[in-house]
Amino acid sequence: MSAESIARPSQTRRPTDDTSRGTTIGQRLLASPEGYLTGFIVLVWIFLSIRSDVFLTERNIGVLLSQVALIAITGFGMTLLMIAREVDLSVGSMQAFVGVLAMQSLNRWPYLLVGIAVAILLGVIVGLINSGLTLKLGITSFIVTLAMMQILRGAAYTSTSAAVQNDHKLSSFKRVFNGAIIEDPVRIPWPVAIMAFFFVLFSLIVAKTTFGRSLYALGSNPEAAALSGIHVWRLKTICFVITSALAGLSAFMLIARMNSGQNNAGFGFELQVIGAVLLGGASLAGGKGTILGTFLATLLLGSLNNGITLMGYNPNWQWAVTGIIILIAVLLDSVRRRVTQES
């Protein structure tokens, strides 16, 4: 391999760099996942606001953003992980496992910070185990986290035969999901504020730091990244831990939302998260994806789910519509790449 072929972090181009290509509005929209996702969202919101009187109300937007917050927060971590060419299937089972244990901890030590700390700490531990098994033993993360998904689900079932109820009655607990950080002039629910914080934080990390550039280099070409001095093991471990810690935080927000720790919570959550990250422009082959793309994809899927219920359609359409949207996005991505190559 020649020295020229080795990607250096500072030289790595992110997918968003392509957005400058194209001159017409259509070409610009097609030029990046963020572009066509924005177009999709505008179309969907126009359609839903015509079909439903309540869709564009402040209250519904608050409900919609609060619901997408859990997927988006975990999705931000998953984006980093998938850019680094790894994946975590255990985030859904973590909603049950961490939720049950965090609620049990809160019942025993009724302090909000104890519950949050337990949730995030459990996430960190799971992330370290996933990382260790994947990187030290050389097993693919798909297999490791698939096994972890089953282990955590089993552990959640074993730890309690029923939902863990809220015995601590902390008033601050319900506010984590149900309260608002600001009431005037616009109501901003806590989950939305937390999501916004992590959106800004990870957008900056991915776009403005050596860590972010190294991540794209690693995902695009792991061999070259290693040769150029990037600590592959350390970088991937950080991504595993961030993903699991954010999944732990989501689990805590979920129990606050349900007011109980459910051992059957989070079924299909990992697919929603991974689906949103892929729709947002990431690739299972690594090296692609943005925090903005993940957020927009989450918002699009959440809007569709919200709209289907508001319009009174059979909610089972949510599964089908999500799949169709992901397929359309993949097709658009394919078209975009062909157009880019031709130009």
Binding site: S260, G268, S283
Partner: protein, 373 residues
């Protein structure tokens, strides 16, 4: 440089599809289908009466007590099955029967294999909860041909000696009538209903329909269904879909859930939406666990649930098997009792020692099942 990765090609696609199926397959909730049509014969009614009157301390003369009874459950982690099998175990202990459980965890293949396992172990009676009643029919028919009684739970399956379950429609109707009376007395006689259902299963559809017919029988046109949503029987999903539905219909003042999780999830969304909890009635179904009973006693909007008494159904399953083993003819459907349970009558059916609720079998057995099928 060409990227090489596990994610390329069919391997990855197949693996992703398998994960999707794994996740989706676990979402389904237990209990399906309704019993066969056609009324029981006199002999079957007499047999039904025998089942309900059996007493381990005074078994009928000449009867053989089975040495081994096995139950193939379909979703043991659910609180319903935890309490049902607890009831079976307790009753089996009273009779001196060795009772074993084999759980399929919603896996049809595992469920059918468990039947073979039990048969090869030489059990005397098989209790069976199908993962899928249609697909289980041939295996259960084959098992029945060996001559052992097969007592089905929750869903009728070809080959079953009898089905032990409640009448879901009748239970829904009764709790609907209760809700109608409550609305008349406390909510100005107008009910705007959010139905958090599970349309994939016929039993849960029957619950919703029974409830709507019951409340309508009291309130007439003053009862309207604002929306029916699918909460999949899971609390997290019930919270999500009801939050959306309540945005569209903030005038909802009655929430019906096809199980405890659905009803409690709807109530949680209502509270989160900042709506007036004093103007809400929440109606649940099952009341198999502490969450429902605690909610009833809290005095909030969760006022009533169609109690299904899983511990008592466990007892009926064991007793029906003993009767069948001794040649007693049983009806196709051995109806388990249910009733609207509230803060006022909870103590009639359950004794609370501060932590656990213990079922009062005499009070449950005394409930009427007249007119149910």
């Amino acid at each position: 440089m060409t990227k090489k990765s596990l994610w390329h090609g069919w391997t990855a696609r197949l693996a992703l599809a398998m994960v999707a199926l794994l996740a989706l397959g676990q979402i389904a909730v237990a209990q399906d289908a309704t019993p066969e049509a056609g009324g029981p014969t006199e002999a079957q009614l007499a047999g039904d009466a025998v089942v309900r009157s059996l007493d381990p301390s005074a078994p009928p003369e000449g009867w053989t007590i089975p040495a081994k009874v096995g139950h193939v459950t379909n979703y043991l982690v659910h609180e319903w099955y935890q309490n049902l099998t607890k009831g079976e175990q307790a009753r089996a202990d009273e009779w001196g029967i060795e009772f074993t459980i084999n759980d399929a965890n919603l896996d049809l293949t595992k469920s059918l294999a468990a039947v073979d396992d039990f048969l090869s172990q030489g059990i005397d009676v098989l209790n069976f909860t199908p993962v899928n009643e249609e697909a289980s029919g041939p295996k259960i028919t084959e098992a029945a041909a060996t001559g052992i009684p097969i007592i089905c739970e929750s869903s009728p399956t070809d080959g079953c000696t009898t089905l032990v379950s409640i009448d879901d429609y009748a239970a829904g109707f009764k709790v609907g009538v209760w809700a109608g009376d409550y609305v008349n007395e406390n909510l100005d006689g107008n009910a705007v209903i959010l139905d958090i259902g599970l349309p994939a299963l016929s039993t849960t559809v029957a619950r919703s329909q029974g409830f709507i017919d019951g409340i309508t029988s009291v309130l007439g046109e003053n009862a309207t269904v604002a929306q029916s949503v699918d909460g999949n029987g899971l609390k997290d999903q019930a919270v999500q879909v009801s939050a959306d539905a309540l945005t569209a219909h903030p005038d909802v003042n009655v929430i019906f859930g096809i199980n405890d999780d659905s009803a409690l999830g709807g109530m949680q969304s209502y509270e989160a939406a900042g709506l007036d909890m004093d103007q809400l009635l929440v109606v649940g179904f099952g009341c198999e666990g502490n969450a429902c009973k605690d909610a009833l006693m809290e005095g909030g909007p969760y006022k009533v649930s169609a109690a299904m008494f899983p511990e008592y159904q466990g007892r009926l399953l064991i007793d029906a098997g003993i009767a069948a083993l001794n040649g007693t003819e049983l009806p196709a459907h051995t109806i388990a009792p249910s009733t609207p349970i509230t803060a006022d009558n909870l103590a009639d059916f359950y004794t609370h020692d501060g932590e656990e609720y213990t079922a009062n079998f005499d009070a449950i057995a005394a409930l009427s099942i007249e007119g149910e099928s």
